[in-house]
Amino acid sequence: MSEIVLSGKGVTQRFGGLTAVQDVTFEVPKGEIVSIIGPNGAGKSTLFNCVTGIYTPTEGQIFFLGQEITGKKVHEISALGIGRTFQNIRLFSEMTALENVIVGSHAKAKSGIADALLHTPRYRREEEEAVKKAEEILKLTGLYEYRYHYATALSYGLQRRLEIARALASDPVLLLLDEPAAGMNEQETHSLTEFIRELKGMGYTILLIEHDMKLIMNISDYIYVLDRGIPIAEGTADEVRQNPLVIEAYLGKEA
């Protein structure tokens, strides 16, 4: 039994009368790719937002590396070692690709206003390190030649990649990928699949939300299926594929 990186116990999120996520319990073991799937409105993104601290779950608890993170602030949770990407790309538009990645490493540095004003040794060292690190990540993600382009000037596929690069800059233990293949064509999705595999090979633990079944079935070690906020199935790709409840949620009941 490997170490559990992230886990949720009975996570429930209500918005007024609407229960977006109900009593979801999940575990993400170290070094694995765990996916959450479900039809539109199933509560996948809401669950993500509970993990990252954008929402505080109405009930239940979330643990990261054995520490409870329920109710912590977004930036605190991120600093603990959770990197994420966004379904609707959220890059920093006034910054170059390189600077976007440098911001990703924000938590790794300490220099403040005084360091900036006086250009202290710490400032110089951290700036140098941040740039070097960011350039390495851009090389790794195949974005190096675009390092000085404005993030928003990149093509859609590259922007998605840059989001992952930015998330990697914080040396996260856990990567949350929110529909990374959304809007991608077959070929782009294929290279993304390979890339996510590589990330796993590098030792990252990944929690994935995705609509693209092929991608999910290809790379997931374990899958949780949500429907209208309720967990209806879990298991390996094969188990989930054959589960009648899952088929029903996606295709409807047989007449």
Binding site: S78, R84, F86, F92, S93, E94, H106, S170
Partner: protein, 336 residues
């Protein structure tokens, strides 16, 4: 054409800056030490500091403020009162002005920075009004509507800034100091965090940026610099009253920032200088009656042609980096 010019400017940025600073240093000499002209220079410099500080709050952090004159006024009154009651002078009055304004910025930020967008803008507007009314009513401290008269000229360890030219150089030094502060802060980890949170708060906080804390820092730096401008004004003019720091002033500073282009240091200075000089130019050619009309036309043109302001969205460092890559690329092609 414009692209090329910007590339050239980016390439020789240091030289361009040096020439501009040299011109600024020589300005009183060029004007023949004309008191009237140098006086315009002093006021343009004070407005440049104010616009730089507004740029920090509005241009970089994205908080549109309609109350910047409040921090200007707080700085002026801090310096004025300390000089009048305790006979203090430069540099203590400058430091006190920055601290007082900065503290008020901290206070305002702590209580209201959870608000966003236009709600915060309305808060800054009312803050400015509150400060003005306080300055009028706290008569024991501020002499109310009478204002504080007879504030002594800046006196730095015995050197008295008693002419327009001497004050001009004092102001110029403070403009350069403000440029230095804004430039260094914005080109650092702190600056990147500030721009990130302006572009996207959710994404920034997901990158471990404490959005509230960084907004607060930007607020404090901005208000402290505005306070410095206030202290300069108080010592230079020698008389301050609450109505000098009201809504009209706030709008004046905001217009300068927007004209020059927010988020750009050069733009801030350009906006401040041009809108300080323009009314005097109009006066000299006998068009001062049409001042408001001309302002209106200019503003309409600006909004139509360049809504981001004349120098807005121009980032010379980025341009230089992008150009450097292009050059390298062409070089490789030539080799192949």
């Amino acid at each position: 054409m414009i692209r090329k010019l910007i590339s050239l400017w980016a390439k020789y940025e240091k030289w361009v800056t040096l020439v501009l600073v040299a011109l600024a240093v020589l300005f009183p000499v060029i004007s023949g030490f004309n008191r009237y002209v140098v006086n315009i220079g002093v006021m343009a410099g004070i407005y440049a500091i104010l616009t730089l500080s507004l740029n920090m709050m509005t241009g970089y952090t994205g908080v549109v403020t309609l109350g910047h004159a409040a921090f200007y006024g707080l700085g002026a009154y801090a310096a004025g009162i300390l000089n009048w009651r305790l006979g203090l002078n430069v540099p203590l009055t400058f430091i006190a002005a920055m601290v007082v304004s900065g503290l008020f910025g901290l206070l305002l930020g702590l209580t209201t920075l959870q608000l966003s967008g236009r709600y915060l803008t309305i808060v800054t507007l009312s803050f400015c009004e509150i400060i003005r009314i306080l300055l009028i009513n706290l008569e024991w401290l501020t002499r109310g509507p009478l204002g504080i008269t007879n504030i002594k000229k800046a006196n730095l360890f015995g050197f008295v800034f008693n002419t327009a030219t001497k004050n001009y150089y004092l102001v110029l030094a403070m403009v350069l100091l403000s440029v230095f502060i804004v430039h260094r802060v914005m080109n650092s980890r702190t600056g990147r965090a500030i721009i990130a949170l302006k572009n996207d708060e959710t994404a920034a906080s997901s990158m471990s940026v404490n959005v509230f804390a960084y907004k607060l820092r930007a607020f404090c730096i901005s208000s402290a610099i505005a306070g410095l401008a206030g202290a300069l004004y108080a010592h230079y003019i020698g008389y301050i009253d609450p109505n000098s720091f009201g809504f009209t002033q706030s709008i004046q500073i905001l217009s300068m920032g927007i004209l020059g282009g927010l988020g750009n240091i050069f733009g801030s200075i350009f906006g401040a200088v041009s809108l300080s000089v323009l009314p005097e130019l109009l006066r000299s050619i006998g068009l001062e009656d049409f001042r408001q009309v001309i302002y209106g036309v200019l503003l309409a043109l600006l909004v139509l042609i360049r809504p981001m302001g004349i120098f807005g969205k121009i980032n010379l460092r980025h341009r230089r980096l992008q150009d450097s890559l292009q050059l390298a690329g062409e070089g490789e092609e030539a080799e192949a």
